[in-house]
Amino acid sequence: MFDSSALLRQRFAALRSTAELFSLRHVKQSYQGLSVRRNVTEPPFFSQDEGAMLTVRINGVEAYAATADLSQAGLQQALQQAEALARQIAAHSLLDLREHAVPSERHEHISPNFEQSLPNLADCLDLLAAESASVPKDSRLVDWQASLGISRVEQTYLNSAGAELRHAQRFLFPGLGVTASDGQDSQSRSLGRDNFGQQGGFEIIQRCGLVGAARRVADEALQLLLAPNTPSGPRDLLLMPDQMMLQIHESIGHPLEMDRILGDERNYAGTSFVKASDFGHLQYGSTLLNVTFDPTIDEELASYSHDDDGTRARKQFLIRQGKLLRPLGGALSQFRSGLDGVANSRACSWNRAPIDRMANLNIEPGDQSLEQLIGGIERGILMRTNRSWSIDDARNKFQFGCEWGQLIEEGQLKGVVKNPNYRGISAQFWSNLAAVGDRSTFQVLGTPNCGKGEPNQVVRVGHASPACVFRQIDVFGGDA
């Protein structure tokens, strides 16, 4: 771990610059992707990536240069490129950062069980093959896949103010998916995949529930194929955590990103229905809504000690009892807006600059068991596992779809329905939050695929949530 730190420190110290501030962010990452599809092992895929971003500040103007050439000459050349660019854009710069504070902490953060050895590749493939093989033989089961992605990242941040921040993280992404088709209609059921990932060791496989799940997942895909469409009309909506995470992500996370509110993302990811003046005032949802930025849940995907600009991360409420308190804005956004934020300035790798991102964005548990949540619904529907997401560029009008639906009548779970979709408006939806599940319903989930930024970046984000009930939501099914 950190085997290049000493050399990096030495080379950083030897860099020569006329900038008032400069920094180096070195990222070394590896990935191993394994998959067994329809009982055939797909070619394993490995990757190794390493590089550094040099950032300078000259007369309050910042610019960067990223390179994979980590030699003394290579780093010096990148530093000079960044300096030249900072001077070139000086007359056109939006920001004057001369008064923007510079981090100077020294710290090390390591994922739980980072050094724990994982089963070897053959054992991992055997596990996936066993899951694949336990999908029942049924001509309607046309596609299935068991997969495991393992990612390992080491990052070192150094700056000319003396900061030295290192983190080492390992992420596991187990997944299982089965598609059933009758030639006309197709229905899929999944576990993990884009809806699950955690930091740590092989215990994540157990927490995900991958082992032994294939038969149930396949059976659920077949049930969906035979199920009626979701009926249309307003119903109480019980969202399980693997849909709540998408709901949080799209209609709380993105609208609270400060760089969107400041206009940086208007050409691509979009803007926000939330205004800077709303923080501290806006009643975002019902008083049951408590949303935290929480980097302290060890296994959650975006737990870290400091963000990629060197700001220390700590748990903070973004929304408390429904009231909007603070944005997802890193140190730079806080400097620009004058608002308090959180440590969420993040980059996907060495070749992209940090911007405001979600990290771990969670809903705090309430006080009702799943039985109580269901029992409190007279006419409703349970939905689980996101499969479709669409929301406007201000993150207000949304439509989401799930894999699995189950009607609820008079406090009882009833039949399975397919193509469960619902739509609403963020600014109103959260005020319909009527019940929040307790810790027994709480799950730590996340996704490796949150896209944003120009140039584009995909980052890992964590979402932990209990099951939640929303009153009178517009639900509907599909055409098939």
Partner: protein
């Protein structure tokens, strides 16, 4: 003098050939770029940087087994050779752990392809000065991305492909004080300041219409014109498994009913993967020469995109598709509607410049949802009345490009991908606008 990207690739290839053992076969991909990224907000530079990156992707094949490794190249020939040897060693250790791969397929032709374009790109100072001069008083937000892109491929059977091109992509929006915006783009391989100025002028003109009071529509079915950029969003959704041989064979394609013959689109609709003449490399990421493929002809599903792996799995013939079987140069045939007559033929309805954030609400039914974004206008009797507040649509492709399609425009737009996930992408689409009798708005 430092080595050129092609020389770096060839040096790596020589080192690989020298290290190969009896019975081993390989494919070696190469991807590199030097990119300048300048982000704008309020017509000022929000963030600027330069990125130099290169990577190789090695696939090792032996005894009916295969595995792949991608590794970053640093530019130091000795260190890069060392990384190649480490990758080779890891793959050698991996192969014996694998079962025989029944779908392994290695193209044994020794095809050769070479394309190199080194047209000069504008100086950064020129771009910054132009933005300040032409848009300094406007609320412009967006990104300028430019620089050389290289792709290489070689195999142990002697295939060799090289693609190198300088390109730029300036993608921006102009915002009115009321929050409405118009989006525009200027991209290509040959920079012409006058053309950029003209694009800015056209977007400024549209901005004037956005100052009118916004119109809010109720859900329902509306006559609509979808401009090529809006059509590009729909085409992008179809690219997401629509034409994929694997997705079609496993119930995961939104076009399965079209390809099974159970459904049809309008006879006006003919889609091609039109690689020839596009800006994409002439070879796929799997190392097969790409070829033009007619995907939909006069509303009927025809050929599909077939990778080498799908060809082996489903007893088909590979046709140069990438491993993900997504089109890289999708083209929709033009129709009969002159662009000058769009408003007149639309009469009363929606003029939609762009769509946003599409997804499937019912995939097997090709039913998709999404939103209007950027310069969507309400038109009455051929006259623009004002901008329309954001609306959601939810409709099937069999309506939009089927029984509700009235015409496609005679003129088409070449739209170059603005995607920079991981690297600057080279995909494109060539699309007309579409006049539809009814588009279902739901929220």
């Amino acid at each position: 003098m430092s080595a050129t990207p092609q020389q770096r690739f060839e040096q790596l290839l020589s080192a690989l050939r020298a290290a190969l053992q009896d019975g081993e076969q390989f494919t070696l991909g190469f991807s590199a770029e030097q990119s300048q990224f300048i982000r704008f907000n309020h017509a000022k530079v929000r963030q600027a940087g330069e990125v130099s990156q290169a990577s190789a992707q090695l696939r090792l094949v032996r005894d009916g087994r295969q595995a792949e490794q991608q590794f970053t190249l640093c530019g130091d020939a000795e260190l890069d050779r060392q990384r190649l040897h480490e990758a080779l060693e890891q793959l050698r250790q991996t192969l014996p752990l694998l079962a025989l791969d029944p779908y392994l397929s290695l193209d044994d032709s020794a095809w050769q392809s070479h394309s190199q374009q080194q047209q000069a790109l504008p100086d950064t100072a020129e771009v910054l000065a132009l933005v300040e001069r032409e848009a300094g008083q406007l609320d412009l937000v967006g990104i300028y991305a430019a620089g050389p892109i290289c792709r290489g491929f070689a195999s142990s059977h002697g295939a060799f492909g090289w693609h190198q091109a300088n390109s730029f992509n300036f993608d921006w929006s102009l915002f009115h004080a009321n929050g409405q915006a118009v989006k525009a783009n200027y991209a290509g391989q040959s920079w012409d300041a006058a053309a950029m100025v003209e694009r800015l002028r056209l977007s400024r003109e549209q901005l004037a219409f956005l100052g009118r009071p916004a119109i809010t529509l109720k859900p329902g079915s509306y006559r609509a014109y979808l401009a090529p950029a809006a059509m590009d969003e729909i085409a992008g959704m179809l690219g997401w498994g629509g034409f994929s041989a694997q997705a079609l064979a496993t119930g995961n394609s939104p076009l399965q009913r079209l390809y099974s013959g159970d459904a049809q689109l309008s006879p006006l609709v003919s889609f091609d993967e039109q690689v020839s003449g596009s800006l994409s490399p002439a070879f796929s990421d799997e190392g097969l020469p790409r070829r033009d493929v007619r995907l939909i002809g006069e509303g009927r599903g025809l050929e599909r995109l077939i990778s080498a792996r799908s060809a082996a799995e489903f007893a088909l013939t590979a046709n140069g598709a990438d491993s993900y079987e997504a089109p890289c140069a999708l083209s929709l045939a033009p129709g009969n509607l002159p662009s000058a007559q769009i408003l007149q033929r639309l009469g009363t309805g929606l003029y939609i410049s762009n769509l946003w954030y599409l997804n499937y609400s019912d995939l097997p039914a090709a039913r998709m949802t999404g939103l209007t974004r950027f310069a969507t206008f309400w038109v009455e009797d051929g006259q623009i009345q004002g901008p329309v507040s954001t609306m959601r649509f939810d409709d099937t492709l069999y309506n939009l490009l089927g029984n509700q399609l009235e015409d496609l425009t005679c003129e088409r737009e070449l739209i170059l991908s603005t995607s920079t996930y991981g690297q600057r992408h080279t995909g494109s689409s060539h699309l007309p606008g579409a006049l539809v009798k009814g588009l279902t708005l739901t929220l």
